[in-house]
């Protein structure tokens, strides 16, 4: 599968990673090489094979509906790059 620059730009946008236009071609080549290699999988017959999402042969455990507490707000925002009045703040979001 050969990725073109536009596709790389699109996935970079989806992943919110800025890729300068000048780097798109090289990155497209790199990712295409990896995808070509990955496509060996097409040799495998997987008809009627169920997908495996978990190796664990166990049942999901449930927690009780008990409040075990919130973290102190100071701990929640301690590492924030920017905060005001106990809120995290970010550049204005336009809806």
């Amino acid at each position: 599968m050969s990725l073109d620059k536009a596709t790389v730009a699109k996935i970079a946008r989806l992943a919110r990673i800025k890729v300068p236009d000048d780097d798109l071609a090289a990155l497209a080549g790199e990712l295409s090489n990896i995808l070509d290699w990955i496509e060996q999988l097409n040799e495998v017959d997987t008809r009627d094979v169920p997908p495996m999402t978990h190796v664990a042969a166990m049942k999901l455990k449930w927690r009780q509906d008990e409040v075990t507490g919130a973290a102190p707000r100071d701990d929640v925002i301690a590492n924030a790059p920017e905060e005001r009045d106990g809120f995290f703040t970010v550049p204005k979001v336009l809806e």
């Binding site: 996935i11 990673i17 990896i34 060996q40 997908p51 042969a57 927690r63 590492n79 550049p91």
Partner: protein, 492 residues
């Protein structure tokens, strides 16, 4: 007290109990060793004050005869485990300055058992890599050198800092995490023992996630016994991790009976891959002979989908990672690079905060999950994962444990394979299959390459049968009598 840092973890434990030396003396010796090994860049953060304070508390308990399982034993912690009050970086620029207000379950268990923290070890950023060169904090060097050369070699990865530290005697043991080989491969490159337990054996709570369905914590140490001791303290059910297994933790150390008579050891033909060095082949043969000599029986087994494990892994792990790493957005912690809009802020932060390999994997992962490609890549890989897992299930009908080489080659030079991601990925060809199946595996040093570098053998066991893996590894260890030592950073 010269030589304390040279002790095995079991020896140090017994020495402390016998009051041959104090925890404080041991900690001081280890702190000195960590300083001496600085050239390896194995640690991102050293925590000597904390080590001394913990050692003093250990001494107080030991003096009262109330010593805990790991009391006073200095360990290095991979900087992927969140440690309360201590910088936790995942070797990424994007976690700049991040100091968790919480502790990972595994490290909390270690401290509860009396262990002492020497520091946080370097790794490939977000555990993505096989060389520990992809770190924001610079590459880790392997303490080993090729005979007659001084070219720096990689320690393997991603837990390369932990492996290098243990090899350089800067820590009696260390924690690592293994997603596709990140404990076993660096253990092999550095001539130490490293174990990835069964998926679910150790809690993932508080470990910076790479690929959630594969990540598993495990120990490094210089002997199989030491690994067994550490694993016993790290393992156990944790209600805070929904994938943690609610099973009893056996006495792993007690499993080291030295007796493998009648044990069926599977030898998978498919692991004789192209490009595998003759010396690896020879070592594998040697391992078979050792086990047969100890009374085990070897059986040929087939793991037919082995060659598809790597491409399968390089779909699933990046896919999971693309979501796991979405939280690094510059909003609540870590690096923020300003932008005119929220999206620009995200894009700038993540472009500057993530290294090249992380970006590559996040992009691949994003692509294979995106509309129109999910079935062809992600779902296909999940189906192949089923086949790989079935291969093992069938193999374990014939064999009790599987013996393979850990890596197709010995450690390579820093800078090599950097421009060829796929060549780098191929390092994990022998370790990834067991990861996909969630099975326990161990790598132990079994010999030296022609160039004088350590080579490891891997044992893979049934799910939650770490005991058989450890028992077999103990027998191999005795037979191999590996006593070669690295040349650099050992403070000699």
């Amino acid at each position: 007290m010269a030589g304390l840092a040279d002790l095995t973890l079991a020896e140090a434990r017994d020495g402390l109990r016998n009051k041959d030396f104090s925890a404080l003396e041991l900690a001081e010796a280890e702190i000195t060793a960590v300083e001496a090994a600085r050239g390896l860049n194995a640690f991102i953060t050293e925590t000597p004050e904390r080590a001394l304070a913990q050692a003093q508390r250990s001494d107080a308990r030991l003096a009262k005869g109330e010593g805990l399982a790991l009391d006073g034993l200095p360990l290095a912690i991979k900087d992927l485990f969140c440690t309360e009050g201590t910088l936790t970086t995942a070797a990424s620029h994007i976690l700049d300055g991040f100091t968790p207000r919480y502790e990972s379950t595994v490290t909390a268990k270690l401290w509860a058992a009396g262990a002492v923290m020497l520091g946080k070890t370097n790794l490939d950023e977000f555990a993505m890599g096989s060389s520990s060169t992809q770190s924001h904090y610079g590459p880790v060097e392997n303490p080993w050198r090729q005979a007659g050369e001084d070219r720096p070699l990689v320690p393997g990865g991603s837990s390369g800092g932990s492996a290098a530290a243990v090899a350089a005697r800067a820590g009696l043991g260390a924690t690592g995490t293994d997603t596709g080989g990140s404990i076993r491969q660096p253990a092999s490159f550095c001539g130490v023992v490293g174990m990835k337990p069964t998926y679910g054996r150790c809690s993932r709570f508080g470990i910076v996630a790479f690929a959630s369905s594969l990540d598993q914590a495990g120990p490094f140490a210089r002997t199989v016994r030491d690994c067994a001791i550490l694993l016993g303290a790290m393992a156990g059910y944790d209600p805070r991790d929904s994938t943690s297994a609610d099973v009893e933790v056996p006495d792993f150390e007690a499993a080291l009976s030295g007796d493998v008579r009648g044990l069926k050891v599977g030898i998978p033909d498919e692991y004789r891959v192209d490009g595998m060095g003759g010396e690896i082949e020879k070592l594998w043969r040697q391992g078979i002979d050792w086990l047969e000599g100890a009374g085990a029986e070897t059986v040929e087994i087939s793991l037919p989908h082995t060659r598809y494990a790597l491409p399968c892994y390089y779909i699933l792990a990046p896919a999971e990672a693309s979501a796991n790493l979405a939280r690094y957005d510059g909003v609540r912690y870590g690096l923020r690079v300003p932008g005119d809009s929220i999206d620009e802020m995200y894009e700038n932060t993540r472009a500057e905060g993530f290294g090249q390999e992380v970006k590559r994997r996040v992009l691949i992962g994003t692509y294979v999950l995106s509309a129109g490609y999910y079935d062809a890549y992600y779902l296909k890989a999940q189906r192949v994962r089923t086949l790989i897992s079935r291969d093992f299930t069938e193999a374990f009908e014939k064999a009790d444990v599987i013996l393979t080489p850990t890596t197709p080659s010995a450690a390579f030079a820093v800078g090599e394979k950097m421009d060829d991601p796929i060549a780098m990925y191929l390092n994990d060809v022998f370790t990834v299959p067991a990861s996909l199946a969630g099975l326990p595996g161990i790598s132990l040093p079994a010999g030296l390459s022609d160039a004088g570098l350590p080579l490891g053998l891997q044992l893979i066991g049934r799910a939650f049968d770490e005991e058989t893996v450890l028992r077999t590894a103990g027998v191999l260890e005795d037979a191999a009598a590996f006593d070669a030592r690295p040349g650099r950073g050992v403070g000699e």
